[in-house]
Symmetry: C2
Subunit: 407 residues, 2 copies
Amino acid sequence: MEKIKGGVTAAGGFFAASAAAGIKYADRTDMAMIYSKAPCRAAGTFTTNVVKAAPVVWDREIVEKSEYVHAVVVNAGIANACTGEEGLSYCRKTADAASEQLGILKEEVLVASTGVIGVQLPMDKLVFGVKEMAGKLEASERAGREAALAIMTTDTHEKEAAVAFEAGGVKVTVGGMCKGSGMIHPNMCTMLSFLTTDLAISKELLQEALREDIKDTYNMVSVDGDTSTNDTVLLLANGTAKNPEITEKNADYQAFCKALRMVNTMLAKQMAGDGEGATALFEVKILGAETKEQARILSRSVVSSNLTKAAVYGHDANWGRILCAMGYSGAPFDPEKIDLFFESAAGRIQIMKEGVAVDYSEEAATEILSKPEVTAVADLKTGAYEATAWGCDLTYDYIKINADYRS
Amino acid sequence: MEKIKGGVTAAGGFFAASAAAGIKYADRTDMAMIYSKAPCRAAGTFTTNVVKAAPVVWDREIVEKSEYVHAVVVNAGIANACTGEEGLSYCRKTADAASEQLGILKEEVLVASTGVIGVQLPMDKLVFGVKEMAGKLEASERAGREAALAIMTTDTHEKEAAVAFEAGGVKVTVGGMCKGSGMIHPNMCTMLSFLTTDLAISKELLQEALREDIKDTYNMVSVDGDTSTNDTVLLLANGTAKNPEITEKNADYQAFCKALRMVNTMLAKQMAGDGEGATALFEVKILGAETKEQARILSRSVVSSNLTKAAVYGHDANWGRILCAMGYSGAPFDPEKIDLFFESAAGRIQIMKEGVAVDYSEEAATEILSKPEVTAVADLKTGAYEATAWGCDLTYDYIKINADYRS
């Protein structure tokens, strides 16, 4: 199991392309395509928001009903959410365009959108983009990176990750790209993530692996507490690695799950650290919990707290806010047992012992909190479960970006 | 039923005082006392945070067990939360000091604290403050206002309200003061609110009236989503209005509930509008809901959304964020039935009709959203229930205040 370079084109048989379709932005690409000539098993997880964007409605049906898929078409700039029947017809038209260009069925095309809510897509521009991308698909690392750049909205950099491992005696790769960076919150967020692997695996196990994995990766990320209408994670497996198809939870399945966890953890952390306006990745680890769920709830509550996030921005070891956020999380715990630490590249410092502040150096704490990756560790000392959540600090730039997003 | 001037000293028989005890701030008062010579029935509601500040532990016991109370002692600057046994002993010592100075039992003294978590109170300063306040108690409107000023932390102005009404043929008054303005969120927040009335009423009905009222007043306020360790609402009734004691839910009880609602709504709105860094009061009304709870959940979700609040700050009619926040609230509804409006002193404008954007003037919407009190109205058109929640915009100053609160 090793990290390798690349993203959606890292796995065998996957091609990517991007285009500047002029949907919203000038002077940049805003569409991406992923394509596999070999048919892919597809798995997906989607937003839990009652208001679901049209592409979410489209993709859920494809993932459920289509035996195979071949392509994903993504656009940035307009979310195609709150767009009614017209919006849904544009998913079909996008799939039609890809179907025609690539010689596949429209039921083999997944779509995804991110951007402003409530505006209709300019279909002529999308069709133009699909046509352009179909003509320049490449399996290169560069094409994967270009795709990762094209799907960004307020992201400041592209997000890719890939891992290679062995299954059934052959080398298999899992790679992916994702984008944030507002409306990022547990339960899938305008977060779009696209994962590819050359593994041969049954559709059922592919879906189960993804569904289990996101509980400890994407669903542990919070940038601003707003769960988007568009959140989508798609995972395509085209089997070109030629491993014996995984149809049961054997050692190969476990190896795949481990690789998936590595890729998704890397992507989740990149997304959190590049949250809107963020200057730091803020990681919260809960140790010693009685159940996994308790650990997840507590870590997510801290990482979602505006007050704590503002304190991280100020490099202020305001541990009271961490305790407070744990307290209102809804999960029970004993405040008088807790040990609390801050960690970063600058070191580790204990802040609380058994629920009471210890005599720590504010200067050392401030130095630790000034690094670009900061971790708070709370040990409940009541059990063996743990969980980690990722977020970012809350900054002036978050306000700046969101007070005037549509202009 | 009429609004009148004043706060905690508006009702008959209530005295107030304040002192500059030097607990944290220089050049300002930081302690307040409320006193009634006539014994008071006391009701209270407290934070639901698992981490409860020492004064919350103290007051809950007093409200439950003491037949009457006579005084409340409040300090700003230090919250006395996460302070262990030592912190609790300081509540007792504060009550002891008030007991000695006022000639009452220590079990007749309620205490409240607001400020930084995890720091012990300087008891010599508190005892000094109690002594000074006991010597200068006054029933004047000015003394009430001084008390409201003394309990402020990041508040920018004092918050008072009072209402007069008739019960049993006599004039009765309900008045109060409160403070915000960070860690303000549904389920009681470092919000402290102190209410006084000269009504004669049984302890049981006083508690019930308060418990019911906060569901639609304080618990509908959110400034930043952080539920504090210290939230406390105390309501004292000293019976000096000489109405026949209310012991059943008769017309007098209903009149009292109505007066309490008026006072608490006025205080809740002041608190929301003066949220940390706020430039506008943001009100969200949900109409046409199938149940009261559905309306409450939806309105609170919108008023708590960082993205929506940043849009209000930017005077941006970003209605997509409102729909999105309703969607992830956890309450079901039909997005395709919703009508959405913005209202303010500058007028009213329809933004959505049956789930789809209508052709509205962005200029008119921006003008409406530029006023200091802005209301979003969403009509679900599926029932007869409604609810209103109050919050504020999310601004640069919120970050500024909270990135460096302790310095």
